[in-house]
Symmetry: C2
Subunit: 412 residues, 2 copies
């Protein structure tokens, strides 16, 4: 069997007509002789609507009941897609996450897939049936449904592709691939035909919304070839292929950056003049982690007279809570807290940057020339990120896209 896993996001199944269009695409793939497992998200804004209802009936809905509630969104989509396929003469069957053998554990609302029991899916595929699986959900040890948190449907698809040893995992979304920058900002932005897991994961973490980094990392772990495609384009061509290791080497050995990504939802918190010593950072970040607050860029200044400054960024929605926690900690360490919202991030990502410090310098120079102040810097092997004022982000994306010659390059 040549098994392909396809995943359609919420915007691809938002209405009955969207579902029929997806059914057309699935039917075509089925006719071409592939064995198909199709992962579907909840229709359009269903999840938001259900969450709103939950907050109408309860001031603090329990995570277990939220999961019980939200899981129904995907369960509706899979049943509807199966029906639409029947109408096209395709023998499809819908499965909830538990029915598909998806096992999960962890906290409700952010479950982690622990195991997939593929027997039922494999036996259905052998009968020539198309298997439609509800994304974003699994069953825990209690027999209860558990949602997988952000990026859960992408993660379901990639995990299924790994468990079923699928030829590839196709992620259908509302854009036709990964771009060198956001085309709405940088008019010269081009689609990236092939990208490595590492680059894609960095781009996803740094602001590219197309695929969740968690799913990309899972793909890397099991070496699942991932294709990102538009669910609205008729042609099967185009898109971006994400792969790694040997496969990537054979396809290209790129020596440049892959793209520019940005994020407009950034706030900074700085603890200044705090006493430093072993365990200082842990005293700051453990209470944040306990409250489930994700911290992005972290910068610590060199200590001076036994004190130093520690700055970090968070998303704006958690800024007030994070600042409150920071104030408590700073108080106990003899320092003060200062913060700033209305910031953004811009990142240059690419394996081409490995061992090439010149790229960071070029980024700083480009921003300096345009008098864009850099508030914080974070670097890793394959990316450089600068935190800058929000109103300068679009300009920075355009300038960097040009400076790194992303417009002119022909890389396939």
């Amino acid at each position: 069997m040549r098994i392909i896993v396809q995943k359609y996001g919420g915007s691809s199944v938002a209405t009955a007509d969207h579902i029929k269009a997806v059914a057309d695409r699935v039917a075509r793939a089925h006719e071409s002789g592939l064995s198909l497992v199709v992962v579907v998200s909840a229709m359009g804004k269903t999840t938001d609507r259900l969450l709103r209802l939950a907050h109408e009936v309860s001031s603090e809905p329990s995570p277990r009941e939220i999961d019980q509630l939200l899981a129904t969104g995907e369960e509706q989509s899979v049943a509807l897609l199966a029906m639409a396929l029947h109408d096209r003469g395709v023998d499809a069957i819908s499965l909830t996450g538990p029915q598909a053998g998806m096992r999960a554990e962890g906290r409700y609302g952010s479950g982690v897939i622990t195991e997939i029991r593929p027997e039922r899916m494999l036996s259905l595929l052998k009968q020539g049936r198309v298997v439609i699986v509800a994304g974003f959900q699994g069953m825990n040890a209690l027999g209860d449904v558990m949602t997988l948190g952000r990026g859960g449907s992408d993660t379901t698809a990639v995990a299924l592709a790994a468990a079923l040893e699928a030829e590839r995992c196709e992620i259908y979304t509302d854009v036709d691939g990964i771009y060198t920058a956001d085309p709405r900002i940088a008019s010269g932005a081009r689609r990236i035909p092939v990208i490595s897991y590492e680059e894609m994961a960095e781009m996803a973490w740094r602001g590219a919304k197309v695929m969740h980094p968690r799913a990309v990392e899972l793909g890397a772990l099991y070496n699942v070839e991932i294709h990102v495609r538009s669910s609205f384009a008729f042609a099967e061509s185009g898109g971006t292929v994400i792969l790694g290791g040997d496969k990537l080497q054979r396809i290209e050995t790129r020596e440049t950056v892959a793209g520019i990504v940005h994020d407009l939802d950034v706030a900074r918190i700085t603890l200044s003049g705090i006493r430093t010593g072993p365990g200082t950072l842990s005293r700051i970040f453990s209470p944040l982690a306990e409250r489930g607050i994700s911290v992005d860029v972290i910068v610590e200044s060199a200590p001076k007279e036994g004190t130093s400054d520690v700055a970090f960024t968070v998303t704006r929605s958690v800024y007030p809570e994070a600042k409150e926690i920071a104030e408590e900690v700073a108080g106990s360490l003899g320092g003060a807290v200062e913060g700033e919202i209305e910031l953004g991030k811009v990142s240059v990502v690419g394996t081409g940057m490995l061992n090439r410090p010149g790229y960071a310098a070029k980024m700083f120079a480009t921003l300096a020339e345009a008098r864009i102040p850099i508030r914080m810097v974070s670097t890793s092997e394959i990316q450089v990120t600068c935190v800058i004022p929000e109103e300068k982000v679009e300009e920075a994306v355009r300038l960097l896209h040009r400076a790194f010659e992303l417009e002119e390059r022909e890389d396939v």
Copy 2:
């Protein structure tokens, strides 16, 4: 443990505010020390909305996928009710039908409960928790969810009450009990405080919409005391108690009819001049049953010269299909078919009618006096039903309600 099963229908949980009102009622019952299992239907018109979606994506949605889709309606209600109870300090937990151990078999869309594994519910009740169970669904041998068809949530509640050996099963609905006639038609109609299973089942079959006869019959089988109450009234009093056997004997020995019920959705089909013989009726009604068409009143005329007339009633929605089948059969039996829609039924129901043929005579006389033509008659031990023109039904209900002295009687 004193276990009570409560059931709330779709209109009782139609909005977030309705759900909160149900939570208030459940919380009060919980505070009074009862162990509660609460069965909930899908919110308001959810089931209709989902069915509409199904017919938008498919011309003939598969029964399995319809069940997968519809089951989500109840699953949303139970999660929301559990959340609302948490807000009131009540430790509630929602369970889908499969999670609650409801096993079912039969055809998708009309599953039959075969077994209830109450272990999880009992252990939760012992911990003092309120258990909220999705009505209308169970799990079949494949591990798939299956809906229980019409009256499924009432049936779930009564079956749970039997399995958990509950003290009683309370059915909350939008009316405050069973009436001697429809109060919108007969202004003197009174609530019936106590009624037997047999009478209630007859009334339900003959048109009383408050409770499904299937649930009543299950209650009779396991001797479950059923209370029908309004979910909108604050007081716990009122309503109608349905019971049987010894319990009923002790409470009352009524010698009169219980009430007048009617049904406006009736069509008649008559096969005339068909050759009679052994197996004739089976040749007529087997093909109808195979197509899932329920037949209500059946009348066969005395055979004359080897032929006879057979007439039966169906609901209007299946009339065209039933007539087509009847025409085929009649053709092969040398007869003709004639039909009539725009009919209604009016029935007089009560154990007081046992061995009292006078009641049927009184009914015919009352209708004759008002010049209401009787098209068909059907009688059983505890009811007499007349099929009459639809436009005469309301008048007939009023006249019979008065003739059987249902307005004046004081029976509790």
